[in-house]
Symmetry: D2
Subunit: 352 residues, 4 copies
Amino acid sequence: MSNKRRVAILGATGAVGQRYIQLLQKHPWFEISVLAASDRSAGKKFKDAVTWLMETELPKEIGEMPITHIDVKSAEQTGDFDLVFTSLPSDLAGPTENEFGAHYPVFSKASVHRMDKDVPLIIPEINPDHIELVKVQQKKRNWKGFITTDPNCGTIGMTLTLKPLMQFGIQQVMVTTMQALSGAGYPGVSAIDIIDNVVPYISGEEEKIESEALKILGSFNGATVDYAKFQLSASCNRVNVKDGHLESIFVKLDKEPPLEKIIDVFTQFKGEPQKLNLPSAPAQPLIVRHEKNRPQPRYDRDAGQGQSVVVGRLRKDPIMTLKYTCLSHNTIRGAAGGGILSAELYVAKGLA
Amino acid sequence: MSNKRRVAILGATGAVGQRYIQLLQKHPWFEISVLAASDRSAGKKFKDAVTWLMETELPKEIGEMPITHIDVKSAEQTGDFDLVFTSLPSDLAGPTENEFGAHYPVFSKASVHRMDKDVPLIIPEINPDHIELVKVQQKKRNWKGFITTDPNCGTIGMTLTLKPLMQFGIQQVMVTTMQALSGAGYPGVSAIDIIDNVVPYISGEEEKIESEALKILGSFNGATVDYAKFQLSASCNRVNVKDGHLESIFVKLDKEPPLEKIIDVFTQFKGEPQKLNLPSAPAQPLIVRHEKNRPQPRYDRDAGQGQSVVVGRLRKDPIMTLKYTCLSHNTIRGAAGGGILSAELYVAKGLA
Amino acid sequence: MSNKRRVAILGATGAVGQRYIQLLQKHPWFEISVLAASDRSAGKKFKDAVTWLMETELPKEIGEMPITHIDVKSAEQTGDFDLVFTSLPSDLAGPTENEFGAHYPVFSKASVHRMDKDVPLIIPEINPDHIELVKVQQKKRNWKGFITTDPNCGTIGMTLTLKPLMQFGIQQVMVTTMQALSGAGYPGVSAIDIIDNVVPYISGEEEKIESEALKILGSFNGATVDYAKFQLSASCNRVNVKDGHLESIFVKLDKEPPLEKIIDVFTQFKGEPQKLNLPSAPAQPLIVRHEKNRPQPRYDRDAGQGQSVVVGRLRKDPIMTLKYTCLSHNTIRGAAGGGILSAELYVAKGLA
Amino acid sequence: MSNKRRVAILGATGAVGQRYIQLLQKHPWFEISVLAASDRSAGKKFKDAVTWLMETELPKEIGEMPITHIDVKSAEQTGDFDLVFTSLPSDLAGPTENEFGAHYPVFSKASVHRMDKDVPLIIPEINPDHIELVKVQQKKRNWKGFITTDPNCGTIGMTLTLKPLMQFGIQQVMVTTMQALSGAGYPGVSAIDIIDNVVPYISGEEEKIESEALKILGSFNGATVDYAKFQLSASCNRVNVKDGHLESIFVKLDKEPPLEKIIDVFTQFKGEPQKLNLPSAPAQPLIVRHEKNRPQPRYDRDAGQGQSVVVGRLRKDPIMTLKYTCLSHNTIRGAAGGGILSAELYVAKGLA
């Protein structure tokens, strides 16, 4: 028997759940033990319940696994597990993650607990020290497990680019997103709504981007997170792209570093995952492209196995200080890949 | 014989030229007399030279018309004409428009002369008084005709929304565009480049948007145009949409009018074309949509026969004052439709 | 008050229901009296229940109309009506159309009753005499009303092209379809499933095409329909097109008429709707295009207000006799437009 | 120094040329020595001349390579090479391939020489013995080198599925293709032409499919190829898909084997490349999918590294014997991948 950590995936049949399954194949530290999904799917074999959306094949042994109901008792009856990845709708995520969190480390992609005071919101390269907040949480809630969260898929790319800019004093950030279809789950957006079209609205997205970045870039004082102080404004759009959120960003800084300096701090940027050499850490969290028309979703979303954020079109802004465009893979770095990287960090730090 | 003004179209086989032809069918004031195009097409019947891109049929009598070379002598040999619409590549537009402008009123969609000191850059609802600048031009150049220009297709929608905001004191404008394929002409963008993709760059577009709006919103002092004083920053993207440029706009104003007031000034906004009841003037230059997910290119581009700009998602901005999204049809209002409306204004004012 | 016939639309909020509403605006013979939809929508105003998908605006007075439940009693309490258009899911259509058909003329787009022995399956240009079958139906069922049906959207274009070929003796027909998204209703196909893709399967579609054409092209003997005798094989695909079903057709005939003769019989083809000058009848049911690369969905789907079928690429086939490509607008001629044309025929013939 | 065979690529900057470069990275037998392209590119570094279209990065050392003119002398001055891959426009391919073929083995993707009597047209799994035809060619032409050709990208998938059906006696084949954008090269299809559209015509494609398959499936008698005798008819369409040609096929056989037997012969089908274990040979040339809605371009084009053909929707045909759908990657198996596999076969057989 392997001594890998055994993983339960809650919401396994969804688009993000499938991405977890895909990315955990041959993972050196984790192996899938339990697949849980809605009552409609529970009781079936995974292959009979899923509309498999990944371009790689559904692994045979995963296809044969039974799907269990999404509660601790059902999950425990199906198999032993050490930690939990969730990708559940918000209404379900609230109580369910509390139920599992009392006993197990829960790595959540749902938005419902992200802004809770005692719940970390983690991008491993940015705020690895925030994971200590789960100790506060465990103490306060008297839990053996915990809940830790990943940011919204639209938050992650932008926030990773902001981290190295913090040293120049960020005052204001304005972002217009062009987000991919897969960010809406499956079936998600109707083809009729998006063919020859852009939809300039994504429910709740702007509020998430505007609030989450400040928590992630804030500082953990041992008891709670002090939010970063700058201002953020977002305008979100859905475009006819399968994967890869593209964002036009304008940033006002205290200082006016030359562009070469910005390119340098982006390119040199590394975080704890790189130092710890975590299995899912990209060599470079930020990749700067120098072509005038990059990044582009189809060409750049898979950079660093989908874990790197690609930055381009860096230029002086006539009003703010800088403008640039960034791209991140919304279901890898922005969802399952980010969740796995976070779990790796907790494991490496002895917290999970 | 009709007493309509006879029109020559230079660049008649291109995407904008075709739109001119389509929109001038049954026009009450104008009739097409001369079609000119590149040497490759000249000498052929129009139907044999064109890849007709309009969803309406190529009018039979237009199809039978001969195509002439793009010079005054060739055009005059083909037929009489009173005014000229051009949609030529920039390198060709420069000398050609000068040649024709010496003798005829030239309504240009090319960028090359837009920022010339003695050349008006017109959006008829915004700066109808600027057309008087052609008198300065005629005097200075000793011309019988003149050159007047329409703005870039990405400039027009935004600038029309800015006009009624001028009363509240515009300080700063930041715009991220999601522009349609037809803005790149034909064949324009390769399908391979845009399928499942966004291209975050359009050559020269940001510079045009950032400069043109200030001229259009400036004031004519009888001799020259004093530019508007606010700051503009643009970030331009190409998306997989046939027609209709969508723009996310953030505006900082001196005052903070309530949103209802903004809606009101947008909705009430009318200009000279509406007062003069010009044939191509939309009843409302600006239409405000109240649904949370509009405007959308496919649904809103044809508002007001493609001559209205549709505004939506109007909301307070946490950094600037306002944010909103606007949409304009880039080959109607943004090109041929705008050119025709401009020509109607000149005619109504006795200048053409 | 008008003396138009009053119409109830069952399934009014669906994609086809909306098309009925759009096409019935300003109809000279019909006016909308009752809108019925699922229990989820019933009780609301139409504008509050619908996701309006038409590119034209939702008519204001329609938006204010109440939605009623889909049963005779509820519908009658909401308003008087003379005839009924249905576009319901098959399971619901079965009993509901029987309930309404006992009292009212029902024009059905559902597949469930199409092949019933005493139910006509009508394409007005092809088999107008089949409408007499409703008399058999009424007698047999002891009904005041009746059910009459329109074919599947994938059947109609092909079958209209086959009608004028019947004179040459059709032996075999093989058709590969490339069908539009709107044929799947709304929300229908997920954008994720069709971007950069084709789906080579549409549930039940091939069976419908293979059977329905033979009934439509059959002959009514006063009591029942004798099916046409030739063989049909279909292969159906979904492509990333909003509207317009494109079909590659191979036909084997008894005779080998020259292509000019085929073009001639297609172009000359007219039916009862043209003779009766019905309001929704296109001047030409079949339009032949001679360009080598037509018909194309985006350019040709609106021919004849969406009621014409466009044929192109007509050529000799090395195995069969002919091959050609045809296109029909699947939600106009293939759904609501076909239903209205059928109702016009019944009215003109005194049967509704 | 390596003892790999050195390769010259003629037409290196084109879409197929780029695919050759991509697929030859780390190839065990071949290494790129010379890149030749049109006069417009010649003299530049490859990276400065190419619009790189592959989703993988342009290899750095390739980017630095000089581009030479497309003639033997220029190529020889640039570097030594042992064999030549060409992907040139037809007009250029004719004389150029003759010039190189006199001295070197030329593996051609152009159509111009495919049907020449002494030129093999090779799909390595189908007709590996036809490669002996180059000896006839060399003798007749008194050449040291030779020209061998790969079929049209639309021919290959279908023909690979037909090979194992030959044992049941093929009488007739009708195919309707839905072909990908990349088949048209770069820039190829304008995005404006294909958005929300299908183009039912590809110049010359039907003729190629109808003729080439018969040569490939024919038999080599030691002097020439006796064509296969069955009949073929094709109808070709361009759809909005990046890569992957999908084909609806109807086949009439002498025998009527049960479907299980067909599945079996497809699945078991292997050819010389599998027996010889050639580096680019897929384990299975034909993969049968049993889901009702496969193959689909986006999911299945990369099967077997893009070298396998995926077959699905196998069913009895009411007119012919069978119908099914197949998919092949048009720029891998259908172009560069097929060319490399062919070269491997020649090398393994001692002919190159």
